[in-house]
Chain length 455, copies 2
């Protein structure tokens, strides 16, 4: 197995500019015909098998398209967005859903919360506020390599509530800083010096961003998909309730993981006084906090406060807050309309998210989900819920080795596992939240493809 | 007044690559404070004036936000999309509409028809099929400068049903060809040689693209806004009915306008045999029609046929057809997902369109439009409908001198003028269609800003 630093280096841009690395999704694929054949075959097999009693014909057709779409997202004949567009087109052109229903996902509030948060992420990168936060932490705690690890994890934590792409956080903000410091200490990915410092820092930041991804609804692009899928089971996860549930386990993990990693995968260099000097030099170069950074920081804090205290404010909707924040960033000139138009990953997310949310919602309305729940209720009556839920959680977690994408994993497995767990007697909100956290944490295994990004 | 060629040359890229010119929208604006002040003042004035009887308080608030948004699109403190996002945020954050209602425009089928058509346009440019069509027409009819004008107009006509950005048609496909031929004949915009050939061709293609914009629902990005606004009055304009109504006047105009222009604004060069040779050389360079071009052409023809014959096919929805066509282009590899993600103008259109359609729709539901219609019904009873409608049409047409954008013009004036005309007794569909055509044709005046593009 390649060292993580080596794996990362192939994903990251050579220059250390604070931009999001653009992993090309469109290189020629092996076994392309098979990647097409499997989802089509699975979809057709379901389509032409008889619908069980209690499920409408349309509902069963939708299940065929939904499963075909998810298998397509896993087998990847095309990038996820293109598979999603095909799924939407199939819903409409087969007459399974009206065109209005097929497009209904695009009006979903949760999607636009994530689109707005993608724009906030751009603001952190563009204004340089993200790097400044990293340098501040390093200047304060970076004297030793363990402290450096904590500093980079803390940077990730601070940014995570408004940066739904953990690729943007770990790759766009943290990595360039990390890489510069490792290089300054003569630790490079490819020449046998990785274990001096860089390998520890990379592994540490990788694990940290996985933890922070689980802590906030807006810390990972597919978390809102979890919220929608739980919502289809009548479980209302708000931004605040997610954060509240995630806070203590998240902070404990962030405190323990760097220390454990430092023990089991220690860097050769322990003292890093030059990192503090490096960070202070960078801060001096950055100069005083710019007006755009203050505005970005102000909007970030206000939006965060409104998300947290929404229940005290007449349940102010999180998307309303986010869109208002985005409008303020545009009016203040922190972001230009140009920035918004070219935030491609936001438009990508809009498309696949709308497709999956729409299909999942109508699977419920057309009787497929209730039918599945009823089937499950009978089948798991043997075990007590604690054992059952622990088993389900373990399977859900390690099943990640089968998926190249967190979104595919969640779309395929979250809802059925939640239904089965609830059927086994697990308190529904506990089941929903633990599976929600596992939906990010499963990536700590590293997927078969060695991806660090969530999408 | 600058010659049109001169005006165009400032809008067009220097190199003749077949790309859409990117007119930067974000240069510093003059009187920026005034551009902000006017929409805010107008919006607040409406907000704080008492709602008339029959209009709900929420409806009146929405009118304030709607008018403020449109005035903002006209005064342009920020690009249209940013003003639209602000409008959506204001609807939600003021509690005028729920967040779900505020976002409902994004699920509108017409919007996704246009988004898909933007992708078709990319396919024409990317595969080179657009230029090939231009060269074919020129090789056949380009022996004289008038024939050259007809050839370029014909190219525009062929592409227009699947290219909703007339900037992409006229600027991305036709202009590079036109410019190369004019240059070959020693006619340049800036050195006094414009009138030899280039000025005639530019003015001709400008007028041609305005005419084709009026002929098809998908030939201009804001046409579907007309469809929605007419729909709010209970008038159902389909893709086919629009095309049927536009066909004869459109073709007659396309036959007459180049000839009239040739008489009143003649090029000095009358014979252009080298243009035929130039086109044939280009065609030889392009070689055989590539697989991607055949696929593009096939999808284009099938989509067009399905749009035209939808009523014979159980009213197959135009958006369903378009999305299916897009899925096929992605599967066939004509377009990559990358192309879709970076088609920025599609995302821009999605945003402003969703905002305007959503507000216009709820103005009807909340009683503002019915109230306005009732007011108008009383006030125009003096005139016969023919005189009334002609007057309205003339005012609507020449009011374009006040607008920098076709969308702003339509959003501000189409619905009230339609309502007044219907109140005066004009047959509703006739009123809707003539105002619809005028919504593109008004740009033949050239706006104050000398823009050639619709957005």
């Amino acid at each position: 197995m390649a060292t993580p630093a080596k794996k990362l280096s192939t994903l990251m841009p050579k220059e250390f500019a604070p931009t999001v690395p653009s992993v090309s999704e469109e290189k020629p694929k092996r076994y392309l015909w098979l990647r097409y054949l499997i989802p089509i075959a699975v979809g057709l097999a379901i389509w032409f098998s008889p619908a069980p009693a209690g499920v409408s014909a349309k509902g069963w057709q939708l299940l065929a398209i939904f499963v075909g779409t998810i298998v397509g997202i896993i087998s990847q004949p095309l990038p996820m967005g293109a598979v999603a567009i095909t799924g939407i087109a199939l819903c409409a052109v087969t007459g399974t859903l009206s065109i209005g229903d097929s497009l209904s996902g695009f009006a979903d509030g949760t999607i636009w919360l994530i689109v707005a948060a993608f724009m906030f992420a751009r603001g952190f990168i563009k204004t340089g506020l993200g790097s400044r936060i990293a340098y501040l932490f390093i200047a304060a705690f970076g004297k030793r390599s363990l402290g450096l690890g904590y500093s980079l994890a803390a940077t990730d934590l601070v940014l995570s509530p408004a940066m739904p792409s953990n690729t943007a956080r770990a790759g766009g903000v943290v990595y360039p800083v990390l890489r510069s410091i490792a290089s300054a200490y003569g630790s490079e990915p490819d020449d046998g010096t990785a274990r001096k410092l860089g390998a520890f820092l990379v592994k540490n930041s990788f694990q940290a961003t996985i933890i922070t991804s689980a802590m906030f609804m807006t810390a990972m692009a597919a978390n809102p998909l979890v919220v929608k899928l739980a919502g289809d089971q009548g479980l209302n996860l708000t931004w605040g309730s997610w954060a509240l549930a995630g806070l203590v386990p998240g902070l404990v993990s962030l405190a323990l993981v760097p220390w454990i990693l430092y023990k089991v995968y220690p860097p050769e260099i322990k003292e890093t006084p030059d990192a503090v000097k490096f960070a202070k030099d960078r801060l001096r170069e950055l100069g005083l906090v710019k007006r755009a950074e203050w505005t970005m920081l102000g909007v970030f804090i206000v939006v965060l406060a409104l998300w947290i205290f929404a229940p005290l404010l007449g349940n102010l909707n999180a998307t309303t807050t986010a869109l208002t924040g985005l409008a303020i960033l545009l009016i203040a000139g922190v972001l230009t309309w140009d920035d918004v138009e070219k935030e491609r990953k936001a438009w990508d997310t809009l498309i696949w998210f709308a497709a999956l949310v729409m299909m999942a919602g109508f699977l419920g309305k057309l009787g497929v989900v209730p039918w599945f729940s009823k089937q499950m209720a009978g089948s798991v009556s043997g075990l007590d819920w604690i054992t059952a839920h622990m088993l389900l959680l373990l399977v859900y977690f390690y099943a990640h080795y089968l998926f190249a994408s967190m979104t595919a994993h969640i779309a395929a497995m979250y809802a059925p596992f939640l239904i089965v767990s609830i059927a086994a007697g697990t308190p529904p909100m506990f089941a929903a939240l633990t599976l929600a956290f596992a939906s990010s944490l499963h990536s700590s295994t590293g997927s078969l493809k060695g991806e660090i990004c969530c999408l």
